[in-house]
Assembly symmetry: C2
């Protein structure tokens, strides 16, 4: 399925991979409709037809981007789950929030694209909305909100959604919020993390 994507990621210097990387960033900033194939081609400094040669139509490239960031998140979540295994709850929460925030602040397109997907209607209905439910359940289980990894209660899922979105909000909102607060990036990230902990640590105690 993702063999085209996988091949592209194997060598990050390949044209296909470079296009994907640029597309990730630009789709993340402007959204699907706000992005033109020409914008992406320009960023990679190639002709637009080269882009089409490698990825086909715009929608296919977008789909590849979504799969790419989804896979990145999945990997990171597995990594974090290993880090926190066995520790006491409060520590688990603190570490997980820290790690996820760092990861997303370094890759803000992930948050952007994720929120885009949650909140925007695609003009031609997107046929690509699987997988989210999966890792929401995984996180819920990993946080001890559910006995059963597969059958996670509705309320637990809502909590996980709330936490994940809160992180995404601070990451994606940086460009809007930070100028309005007039703080440095470091200060902003520090405060975002603290705010996240403020709400989450007290809630799970």
């Amino acid at each position: 399925m993702a063999s085209s994507l996988e091949k592209a990621k194997q060598n990050p210097d390949s044209m296909k991979a470079k296009i994907l990387t640029a597309a990730r960033k630009i789709f993340g900033e402007y959204g699907f409709h706000g992005t033109t194939t020409r914008m992406i081609a320009k960023a990679v400094k190639i002709d637009i037809s080269t882009l089409y040669y490698h990825w086909g139509e715009k929608g296919d490239l977008y789909e590849a981007v979504i799969m790419d960031v989804t896979e990145g998140m999945r990997q990171k979540l597995i990594e974090v789950e290993k880090m926190i295994k066995g520790r006491p709850l409060e520590e688990r929460i603190r570490i997980a929030l820290d790690e996820m925030a760092d990861y997303l602040f370094e890759n803000p397109e992930i948050s952007n694209l994720t929120l885009f997907r949650y909140f925007t209607k695609m003009r031609h209905g997107s046929v690509l909305d699987f997988k989210v439910p999966e890792y929401i359940s995984d996180i819920a289980f990993s946080m001890g909100l559910s006995e059963d990894r597969k059958n996670v209660p509705f309320d637990a899922k809502m909590k996980v959604l709330s936490i994940m979105n809160a992180i995404h909000n601070f990451v994606s909102g940086e460009n809007f919020f930070r100028p309005m607060m007039q703080v440095s990036r470091e200060e902003y990230i520090r405060a975002a993390k603290e705010t996240l902990k403020f709400f989450n640590v007290s809630a799970f105690s």
Copy 2:
């Protein structure tokens, strides 16, 4: 400034107002770039040139929409502030969350448009990013997070942002999250409110 908008809102049956209402909804669903003037015209069942006759260019209509929803939020917040005045903190939080959630679930375009604005770059830089800081500060003050209405500490603003965005997330995310949870709208709204209270009540105690 908004006299054109005000005039339109005076008579909700006026063509100008009908266009505005449709624009609110469609811009909310598809975002600025995802919306075409033709989509809006079609929704109102008028010719596209009639739309231009009343509102001028797309960007101006969008701006009017943003001002409209912003004003709606401001009004609602004033209303809520009056309702909760003098009550104990926990009650204030519960009522405020309930009220704001109800209001936004009834007017989801507000949440959509708000989040869009926070997270999306406009291709031609939007010159319209005032006012948000204002009412963030107002809420912080009203919640007792700041002594001074005008000079609200950074961390308090971050908390308010976090709360407001959490509500917006559930409202705007309904179309994505609810099918994935397989619950009714009522059930979803109930759970959203409970989740909001779960995080916020414990945090402020």
